[in-house]
């Protein structure tokens, strides 16, 4: 988390190997990124970029199936199963034959998410050592869809997949994340357990805005921005 320009996407790019860090290294399953075979890595780690432009006419099913590229020498049936599962998971089970370009922005976002899910799906369902890097996956989505996606993300994490999500909505972060990293101008403001990271003091120093943490009847916590002019 962090304000615009704080380095969230940059950090994600470093994690995905698109950018190389000046110092330090990124390791997945104890192996530095550079030591991975590209295909093996792609079976372990999937990335959802912030916005994807698709220049060619393509069906939803075909687009999601592209996520299975690293497995093209694997079992023939697995592609169809993975695609079906991924589309089901994002709530677009019946969209397989639809044209991607006729979908709404939110639906497109979910199709892209499904592609990323298909990439790390494995027949045995085990999520061990798999990494999912998501750059603002809830962009363009309406509240119900956001909730659906974030629940899915949580569920994936519960299966043992390491999910790194760039989020704008701090309440979502509080509700779904285990741990967090708060950035400001390329520097770490706080990191660790999410409830500690997203303290009003940290948020104030990162976002330069005053907030309060509210708890609703169900015990869910929300970050509320305090409008200083009104409060004062």
């Amino acid at each position: 988390m962090g304000p615009n320009g704080s380095g969230k996407s940059t950090l994600l790019n470093v994690l995905s190997g698109d950018l190389w860090p000046h110092s330090g290294s990124v390791e997945i399953a104890g192996r530095p990124l550079a030591a991975w075979d590209a295909s093996d890595l792609a079976m372990r780690r999937a990335v959802l970029p912030q916005n994807s432009h698709v220049a060619f006419p393509i069906t939803v099913g075909d687009l999601v199936a592209i996520g299975r590229l690293p497995y093209r020498h694997g079992r023939p049936g697995s592609e169809r199963a993975a695609v079906a599962w991924a589309l089901e998971a994002v709530g677009l089970g019946s969209f397989s034959h639809r044209s991607y370009h006729r979908l709404s922005g939110g639906e497109r976002q979910r199709v892209q998410f499904a592609r990323v899910l298909a990439q790390i799906w494995s027949p045995d369902g085990a999520g061990n050592d798999r990494v999912l890097l998501l750059d603002e996956p809830t962009n363009n989505l309406d509240p119900a869809q956001r909730l659906g996606i974030m629940r899915l993300v949580r569920q994936l994490a519960d299966q043992g997949i390491a999910v790194v999500v760039v989020l704008h909505d701090l309440s979502e972060a509080l509700r779904f994340a285990d741990s967090g990293l708060l950035l400001h101008c390329g520097k770490v403001v706080a990191q660790g357990v999410i409830t500690d990271v997203l303290s009003p003091a940290h948020i104030a120093s990162a976002f330069e805005v005053e907030v309060g943490i509210l708890t609703d009847q169900q015990g869910l916590r929300h970050v509320a921005v305090v409008d200083q002019r009104r409060a004062g």
Partner: protein, 357 residues
């Protein structure tokens, strides 16, 4: 058949697969008919029955000696060159469109056509200055120059793109435009100093022709065209990924940079060779993949063979038209493909603009 889609995704639907097979079968039949028509007809009329009887080995005397020679050494290699050129240009077009993620991209973008055109113009204008001992090799001066020119222009563009950081396709595109402009200026200068005859030679060369290609030429063209088909086929899934974006492809384990370089070099070799022996044949590389995409979708495992087939059908029929339309003279093939391709291109452009709005 090389393009059996073994693990077609189930969600593509049996109906769509049937449709794809049907389209492929129709195109194969059309291509076969076109090739047959091109071999059996032309300015020199001969009886179809005689051609078939002779070809089947039933009646060796069904055709006169000249007719036999015409079919065996002129028409047949020419049809094969047409098929190879058509397929090579279409496959190159598919690769270019995936590389640039733009359905309006064509092989000319990486400078191979302008480089070839410049070298060809140079060869035409400087030919009189070449030593006489070239003798029988004179016929190969132009093709060799055109091929080398195309390759050099492309390598130059790659180098510039690499120099300015990676093979980012935007840089590649802009470098291609720059090189094309320079080549165009140089051609303009050559036209400036050319005589009437050379001027006409340059003009005709730029309109393309399949004339004069024999077995040797078809053998030479076959090498890079078969190679680029095999290459493109082997990376079809990666091409699908690449058309979603370089980052997407990279995250899926595609060695994007290396692949891009390979694509550029393969296209330069294939298009360079075709252009060397056939001159510039416009629009096939652009239009064929486009038409294919309309009928069978964007999956490269289908797109590659189907656009090659479409291109083969167009160029083979087109060449037949060039041979008989103004017989005993001949039209440039580029006129025919351009006459077909121009309107189709505009139609697609308008369609795409509407779709984007």
């Amino acid at each position: 058949m090389t393009f059996i889609d073994i693990d077609a995704p189930a969600h593509s639907g049996a109906a769509r697969d049937r449709r794809r097979w049907r389209v492929t079968a129709i195109l194969l039949v059309l291509a076969f008919v076109a090739a047959l028509a091109a071999v059996a007809t032309g300015p020199l009329a001969m009886s179809l029955r005689g051609v078939i009887a002779w070809a089947a080995g039933l009646d060796g005397s069904a055709l006169s000696e000249i007719e036999q020679h015409l079919i065996g050494h002129v028409r047949l290699p020419r049809v094969i060159v047409a098929i190879l050129a058509g397929a090579g240009l279409a496959i190159s077009g598919c690769l270019m469109q995936s590389l640039f993620r733009n359905p309006l991209a064509d092989p000319g973008l990486i400078g191979v056509s302008s480089g070839s055109a410049l070298a060809a113009a140079l060869a035409i204008v400087l030919m009189p200055a070449l030593p006489v001992w070239l003798g029988g090799f004179a016929a190969f001066v132009l093709p060799v120059a055109a091929f080398v020119g195309g390759l050099v222009a492309t390598l130059l563009i790659l180098r510039i793109a690499h120099f300015s950081g990676g093979t980012a396709t935007v840089v590649l595109l802009l470098a291609g435009i720059g090189i094309s402009v320079i080549a165009e200026v140089a051609i303009g200068f050559l036209i400036f100093i050319s005589n009437e005859q050379q001027l006409r030679d340059i003009t005709f060369w730029r309109m393309g022709s399949l004339a004069g290609n024999g077995w040797l030429q078809s053998g030479i063209i076959a090498v890079p065209v078969i190679a680029i088909f095999a290459f493109a086929w082997s990376i079809a899934p990666a091409l699908n990924a690449l058309s979603l974006g370089e980052d997407v492809a990279r995250h899926l384990g595609v060695p994007v940079q290396r692949l891009q370089r390979l694509i550029v070099i393969a296209v330069a070799a294939a298009v360079g060779t075709v252009v060397a022996f056939c001159g510039l044949i416009g629009f096939l590389g652009l239009v064929a993949p486009h038409l294919a995409r309309l009928v069978i979708g964007h999956d490269h495992r289908w797109l590659l063979p189907v656009s090659a087939l479409i291109s083969v059908v167009i160029i083979t029929f087109g060449d037949l038209v060039t041979r008989i339309a103004v017989a005993p003279a001949e039209l440039p093939i580029g006129l025919v493909t351009g006459a077909l391709g121009g309107p189709i291109f505009l139609y697609l452009l308008v369609r795409q603009m509407r779709g984007a709005a």
